[in-house]
Symmetry: C3
Subunit: 314 residues, 3 copies
Amino acid sequence: MTDTPDNAAAAWPIAAAMLQFPGTLRDGTAITDAGPDHWRRLLRRVVLAGFDNVEIPSAWLRLGDLSATALGDFGAVVSELGLGVPGITVVRESIIHPAQGSQNLAFSHRTIDAAAELGVPVVCLGLHDALAPAQRDVLWFWTQAPPPKPSEPETYDLAVRGYRELAEHAANVGVELSLELYEDTYLGTASDAVRFVTDIGHPAVGLNPDLGNLVRRQGPVEDWRDILPAVVPYTNYWHVKNYLRMEHENGTVFTAPATMATGVINYRDAVTMALDAGYRGAFVVEHYGGDGLGVGAMSRDYLRGLLSEELALR
Amino acid sequence: MTDTPDNAAAAWPIAAAMLQFPGTLRDGTAITDAGPDHWRRLLRRVVLAGFDNVEIPSAWLRLGDLSATALGDFGAVVSELGLGVPGITVVRESIIHPAQGSQNLAFSHRTIDAAAELGVPVVCLGLHDALAPAQRDVLWFWTQAPPPKPSEPETYDLAVRGYRELAEHAANVGVELSLELYEDTYLGTASDAVRFVTDIGHPAVGLNPDLGNLVRRQGPVEDWRDILPAVVPYTNYWHVKNYLRMEHENGTVFTAPATMATGVINYRDAVTMALDAGYRGAFVVEHYGGDGLGVGAMSRDYLRGLLSEELALR
Amino acid sequence: MTDTPDNAAAAWPIAAAMLQFPGTLRDGTAITDAGPDHWRRLLRRVVLAGFDNVEIPSAWLRLGDLSATALGDFGAVVSELGLGVPGITVVRESIIHPAQGSQNLAFSHRTIDAAAELGVPVVCLGLHDALAPAQRDVLWFWTQAPPPKPSEPETYDLAVRGYRELAEHAANVGVELSLELYEDTYLGTASDAVRFVTDIGHPAVGLNPDLGNLVRRQGPVEDWRDILPAVVPYTNYWHVKNYLRMEHENGTVFTAPATMATGVINYRDAVTMALDAGYRGAFVVEHYGGDGLGVGAMSRDYLRGLLSEELALR
């Protein structure tokens, strides 16, 4: 295969997200415990939707909790299906949670080992935690304010030390960590995220500039054109999703999930910025709302087209 | 043709809706009276948009009012165009309307005879009536409250008896009836619809789970994930359309028509649920707003893809 | 190539808009001064997005300010890229601006000469001016009221005389002018626009029925179905774009850019109306918001499909 822009774009890892896949079978069995036949059956949906890469979220399958045998089975399933796994994501399990922090930290460590075992290059982590009840009771969880970020310096230091410890582990086994931007956390603004990743100060830690997490807030937001240039030098993994924003002169804002091409983030420009800054990592196409997998497939095709056009210009 | 998932999906009847087709020619002639040359000319738009099936609504052409000769002409036109007709719909002509109820009932009877004559398997009926003036004066009629459903038990009994009478007729001529879910009618919630179809209690009567009619309300709504499982055992015909919903923490809700893939209803999951429950009937792709026929064509292609993926998993 | 509907649709000029292309290079150099290598590099994006036609806006490159040599260089670039230029647009540089009016008029004259030199058939002009600061500070500029249209009859007369003078010049060099509909100007309603173009009364002046400029207002708007029939007899150029509109019974309205197929304007019907009225001019596919060039490419393909279907019916 000659290295044309089309070929290079076709080879770029663009992974399905599994946001709409529940963590249990209908009978209540955890996917983690369901075994290879169920994993194969469920992941075939991703393959049939045209994906050759998939991100494995801990909300669906807790790879860090699998036995060595089960992890081998999982590796065989994805291999048999022809699926690459550019990343494992552990979110809404914060390592600074007042009660579950230390067990979340331990699970993050185990997930890094699982990634190393499977040859997955990135583990994505975040400081946002389980949805509050008020967030679970509404159509779109981001329309309710999340808990504020902790104000005590000790907690900040705990987070820095925790990620540094995880990074050291990750580096030792050949894995990178990527911290996901998310509102009302230490990763909630461009400057906070840069400060946080700089304070961690470890070469195995980068950022996941999930701009959608920030622009969907139904209130004032930072302009994504200011966020991305600030964080792109640290970017080593990328959740892409987009939102419609409507604003009224009385200050009211409404948002809703949109396709990657039609939301407020201009991903043509965003991809150009990232490639200019040397980004060569994976993309994960997320979408809340209706058919997330189907819209993800549209985003994948759109993104593939963008990459092909962008690479042809270089 | 071997029975691959792609072939089975390609053969599944997915019909164009004709929501944007006016009931009169520019000179004021009713389409019903316009004759085969006009019918052919207008239906060619549907064919050129890539459809091989179409639903005929009484708001466009009143098949129940055609003479035997004219009905034969109509059958020849659709046959010549290669169009299947999986359903005829008579809506906004309620059989319990205080003044027009009995003539609407009579027209429903005549439409069943027309369906039988044309070999159309389903007549879709509904309890919602002509739009109120306040609904006609706004951009989206569902942003204004419809009249409340009648509260007198006699009216409910009249509806049950009327549909039972129509069902008896339909069964005698080999036609099924499908009652369309619609807000503020006896078919306005999952439990009301199930109660109503159960009270009719006739094997020739099923439901059309037009979820879009319910989720577009600019106020609180039932979750479609609760509605569909309740009504799917009775489903024998299906209007599919989708909506964007935006909700504010102050309680304000805005909705607008969306493409089938991008609205709040996850049709991938909905189709899975329906096929699991044994649904093998037709789909009609509706869309209000801009180019309903064009968006319907997108929905048709999207739905065809979903069916192909879903059938490959079985 | 035989003259099938598909071929005729494929040959119809549908131009990219360059709304998202900034007027300067990163180092601050004006595109106008950047020279042919930069013009070629930037216009290649348009070609890679699949366009064979492009509209040149003065906000990107001021063709009227180029030397004869530079203009020749520009013509060579577009020719080499295989791009047609069906129109040059000069907007937000009103000829009745209190301070800059006369220099804007002079620039419009020079742009007409540049169009003639390049063989561009249409120059598009408008009475809307530079965005107000309050409009520049918000996500969507149209959510803030623009300045009202001038009320003094002398200003109206000045506008009529100015355009008549430009029209006379244009006619002499084989160019047409097209005036763009825009809210709160003499071209802000169907009746105002017809009156204004009639008062100018010159065969070289027509209208650009940019319906999106009117329907996106977050307040009451004229129905596009009333606007287009009124202005279509004067139409000689056409900016097409679409918007989502959400309306609440409390009177609040929200709008956002939408794809051409999914917004409130039914472009299938709009194109039918225009072709019935004899429209054979170019289309320019505009889109604000995210990836305007990418959404424009989708609009181009959608519009090409519509034209093919519509021509097949004739």
